[in-house]
Symmetry: C2
Amino acid sequence: MKIPPVKGTRDFYPPQMAVHNFINDGWKRASIRNGFEEYDGPIFEYLKMYQIKSGDEIVDQLFNFKDRGDRHLAIRPEITPTLARMVNQQINALSKPIKWFSVPRLCRAERPQKGRLREFYQWNIDIIGIDDVLADAEIIFTTIDYLRQLGLKPADVKAKISSRKLLAALLCNIGIPEEKLDSLYPLLDKKAKLPADTFEELLKENVCDGAKVKTILDLMSVDSVEKISDIINLNQEAQAALDEIKHLFDLLAVMDIGEYCVFDMSIVRGLAYYTGVVFEVHDMVGDLRAIAGGGRYDNLLRDFGGPAISATGMGMGDCVLEILLRQRGLLKDGQLQTRKVEFFVAYVNDELLKNVLEITARLRQADISTSFSYKAQNLKKQLKQAAALNAEKCIILGDELEQGQIVIKDMSTGEQSCVDMGEFFKNL
Amino acid sequence: MKIPPVKGTRDFYPPQMAVHNFINDGWKRASIRNGFEEYDGPIFEYLKMYQIKSGDEIVDQLFNFKDRGDRHLAIRPEITPTLARMVNQQINALSKPIKWFSVPRLCRAERPQKGRLREFYQWNIDIIGIDDVLADAEIIFTTIDYLRQLGLKPADVKAKISSRKLLAALLCNIGIPEEKLDSLYPLLDKKAKLPADTFEELLKENVCDGAKVKTILDLMSVDSVEKISDIINLNQEAQAALDEIKHLFDLLAVMDIGEYCVFDMSIVRGLAYYTGVVFEVHDMVGDLRAIAGGGRYDNLLRDFGGPAISATGMGMGDCVLEILLRQRGLLKDGQLQTRKVEFFVAYVNDELLKNVLEITARLRQADISTSFSYKAQNLKKQLKQAAALNAEKCIILGDELEQGQIVIKDMSTGEQSCVDMGEFFKNL
């Protein structure tokens, strides 16, 4: 009986697994050098945990099910709710600031599209307990630090940065009632995805006042912090929010990633839960979805039944990233090895198999990757097999073995030498 | 709103994550040095895939659900069906032998017990395409190679090895009809878990013939290959199976893990799908569940709609293993670091924060793990924080910075030296 894989999932054959590990290991290394500790949570949680953060609409986008005790559970579509739950559970025992990262496997019951699958990995970094843009700067730095190390230049990718606090202050400043903001964010967030006239129409429906619509449209097109005060007279709150974002850009410049960062008022992020700096990393050449996104979310831990503690974080999925790296030639098929073979032990007849096994076992016990052929095919075939496995060196067992000698062949230079086996193991 | 984790799942806070990584990295290293390539599959598959291998009873033990297209899916309880599906899909493109490993996250809708959770990790290694006990020997070697490297001795753990082929031949040899074997295996597999008289009673019900029951009981207690021929006169098939298992033990001795291996007829493995060598690794001191189990399964790929290709493999879960390592003192709380800090950058006043960020960013860009305090608390406090983070070295920024000098303090020796910052970065 032949059964296919489920649509929107991936099979990681060794070559694909090597790509996955390349991305994953890079995420981990960047996290570690930036001072983050790794955590993880369960692959499923109570369904209601996701409703707290994202409302009831999320239920349809989750793989949800009941266990035998009739508990309503869901495969995690994101890890932030788990993070909030875990931090709240041990809030007093954990020393602050909490700087954690994770590379969770996540699932969403969506229709698969380019760069969006039903199962994917997402790098998450979060700093909890620091109510200062310095933490936001570190989150953005860590994100760029990773992308830069991959070989992506400021011409390839940019962190587009704005602030929910600033946007809220500006909207209030021009007379939008505060209680209207939460419904306005998802619309403003869609600006880049909608035709200009559709966006304007929806905005008119929502805001009603033509002058205000005009000011909002002007504000949303601003690409430099300095230009905001050309559009409206800033009140005190708006000025404070503006100063904060200016300070953020100063910090990013000091950290030498200024060229990767731009101010962009149109970055809003759909979710209600952001409270301060928000950002998305975008491909500057193609038309891919956002590579990464994040921001400050100071209320989430409280919403999950914990104390009011400020937090800021970032998420980066693996699907869009892989497409981008391939487009830029930074990831090529066959570039990554699927197997490590330091020694390949070849032998000239089946009677030497015992010696092959003995030597292989000793090398492996010394943590040296070693392979051999299950059959003593002719030596040429074995050496071909060794080459196909990218073996660094071959040990050839032949008649010399009677004198305790083995032949070692360097597979890159082709050089061969005969050495004493005892010496060989002594020098490992 | 406070929501608990789901029963039977684990939260991996950084200390637990460090343990998880310790186990996981060891599995990966052992796999790589033994010549295996990594693969992985989706976290969920079509439910019916699991029914093929394990029958309809499995459905209750799975977290299963329907997607929006009304497809019946399940979170994977094991990865072998995925392996069979993936190998069959690319059977012609994959060069043989296929030596693959994976460390999948798996879920089973069971009642949580000691060493058995509803979500766990399992190391899997498989060799496909080699119909020779040499492949079984490599699977057992790799398993022991890992456990030995952890510090476990032959007195701690043993691979108990038997053969389905031998068992089948012996049972047929004493007159059990071949069609009865599949129903007999699950019962024989329970021998160690049942009181002796209960086992005997069930066996009588199943076999009926008292003399045969007696012979089976004698056979099941055999702990050495040599003793089998004392119990029954071996026919040709049984003799061939016996020779094969003897040859396996010869190979294991050559590979220098003979002391870790014992012959044990009572190892049957419940599943119908095993066809040759079967083994379980058991703790010799405590009363834990099996640490690992595996064997040859030559029909599975065919059952999954592919060609008849022989295969052999092993699975080892993380839960029992962790309990064992803790019991033996091979894994201690606090033994593993959760964070790496090569440099901690301290500063004497907030005006130097810019310099802290600049130096931190440069070090991190050079892939050097670096941390700093978000506030310029007094130096003593910062050094205490650095010590708490296990920092290897501190860079202290003070008045010397005006002359381009920084102080470097070795945190293990306490030694301090003043160096030129330009020189410092040049020598990194």
